[in-house]
């Protein structure tokens, strides 16, 4: 492969998805997705449900295996990277938070750094303090997940993912399970994160967030990238019929 040419052509590129195909049995969910993500870019992925948005994210950290195409992280095919190592470099935040209910907030945060990255406990606790402060939940450090609101849980989940110092963060509908009044606090944390230079891929229906925080909006429908571009262009002057229909339905 001509890696040098690829690197010099887009030295800022951290993630590259080429002709990605994913099938669940007979159901083809991704039918050749192409996407290039630059470092520090925030990509918001929108599109009808069942269109393959979540599946695309889950392929990037290999929670799903794919049948065709390639994904490159910093120029290296992710199939060539140890899967557990890959996952420390690509963090993920889930719709259902998935905090570990038998552990308090601090334990949720420090488990993986200690076990996976061999970080010392003291170091991990120090880092947890910093990140909890950043998401505004330092006072909940010894709380158990069931004592937190949905918004607080998701902010803890974001902090937990950040503990691994990921290069890319994937957000799979992070606010879809939240009561409306709790969505804002999570989106604020994500906006700060985006501004701090984190590379982010966010699957969401929050068009306000897409408009304010996204560098680029990617519209995925029927397993392909139908249209992509800066928020103003996609939201105001979508070119494709499918995009127009989707936006009309969602903005109503």
């Amino acid at each position: 492969m001509n890696q040098q040419a690829t690197n010099s052509a887009a030295s800022q590129e951290i993630l590259r998805i080429e002709n990605l195909h994913k099938r669940f049995g007979n159901l083809e969910v991704l039918k050749g997705v192409n996407l290039s993500v630059r470092r520090a870019e925030t990509i918001v992925i929108i599109g009808p449900s069942g269109g393959g948005k979540s599946t695309l994210l889950r392929c990037i950290n290999r929670l799903e295996e794919y049948q065709g195409g390639k994904i490159f992280l910093d120029g290296v095919d992710i199939q060539q990277i140890d899967v557990n190592k890959l996952r420390t470099r690509v963090g993920m935040v889930f719709q259902q938070f998935n905090l570990f209910p038998h552990m308090n907030v601090l334990q949720n945060l420090i488990l993986a750094p200690i076990k996976v990255k061999n970080m010392s406990k003291e170091q991990a606790i120090e880092k947890a303090h910093l990140l909890l402060q950043r998401v505004g939940l330092l006072d909940k450090i010894y709380a158990f997940p069931e004592q937190l609101s949905g918004g607080q849980k998701q902010r803890v989940a974001i902090a937990r993912a950040l503990m691994m110092d990921p290069e890319v963060m994937l957000f799979d509908e992070p606010t879809s399970a939240l009561d409306p009044e709790l969505v804002g606090e999570v989106l604020d944390v994500m906006k700060n994160l985006a501004e701090s230079g984190m590379t982010m891929l966010v699957v969401t229906h929050e068009m306000g967030f897409a408009r304010d925080a996204a560098d680029r909006i990617v519209f995925i429908s029927n397993g392909v990238v139908e249209e992509e571009g800066p928020p103003e262009q996609i939201l105001k002057q979508p070119q494709k019929q499918r995009t127009k229909e989707f936006l009309r339905r969602i903005l109503e």
């Binding site: 993920m92 889930f94 570990f100 488990l111």
Partner: protein, 216 residues
């Protein structure tokens, strides 16, 4: 009246047998827990080479009588050159047997934990084993504690079968007393009473542990 007197006179002897029953059961459940945890996980493996043997194990040990299993291990194995004393033979048979039942309990326990827990653990870079050990099994065990308590109670009663190979647990102790006193009714009733008290106490302990854990 004499029947009652003989029971009282030999009650201490029976209690020693009960203590042996408790030890025998505890050892066996200990083995069953270790075995059952691995076989229960193995039952959920997507690799047939792990999955099939584990399933076969569970099916075979649940599908044959414990008395036959004890007989195979104590009377049968010596013919192929493996001679076990009564006590180790009983622990082996009871342990293998409870391993099968506990495997099913563990499997159900693991399946009761939402898939997202495992995915979240893996997405942080934890290996399959680390995810099981730190995330899935601790939650699963909390859920299956009542079922495990049940298994302990069942095995306490089933351990009486070890009497047929001469392990001096409660049942065997009772039979020994009867052979001297001929008081079948009172002694067997006394044995039943002691088994009942033991299982009652165990179920109370389990219920207490359950409540403690659900608070934490």
């Amino acid at each position: 009246m004499e029947a009652f007197y003989e029971l009282l006179k030999n009650f201490n002897f029976l209690l020693i047998g009960a203590w042996e029953t408790l030890k025998l059961t505890s050892f066996s459940v200990g083995i069953g827990l270790i075995l059952g945890t691995f076989i229960g996980m193995g039952r959920l493996s997507r690799y047939r080479i792990i999955n099939y043997p584990c399933t076969a194990y569970v099916e075979f040990l649940r599908g044959t009588p414990l008395l036959v299993q004890i007989s195979i291990i104590y009377f049968g194995l010596p013919q192929v050159g493996i001679q076990l004393a009564p006590y180790p033979a009983a622990v082996t048979a009871l342990g293998l047997n409870s391993g099968a039942y506990i495997a099913e309990i563990v499997r159900a326990g693991i399946q009761s934990i939402p898939r997202g827990q495992y995915e979240a653990a893996r997405s942080l870079g934890l290996t399959h084993w680390q995810s099981m050990r730190y995330i899935i099994l601790p939650q699963a065990f909390r859920n299956i504690l009542p079922a495990l308590g049940n298994e302990f109670i069942t095995l306490t009663k089933d351990s009486s079968l070890a009497s047929v190979i001469g392990v001096s647990e409660l049942m065997r102790s009772g039979q020994f007393v009867i052979s001297r006193t001929f008081q079948t009714f009172s002694i067997y009733f006394g044995i039943a009473f002691i088994y009942f008290i033991m299982t009652l106490v165990i179920s109370r302990i389990v219920r207490y542990a359950e409540r403690r854990l659900s608070v934490g």
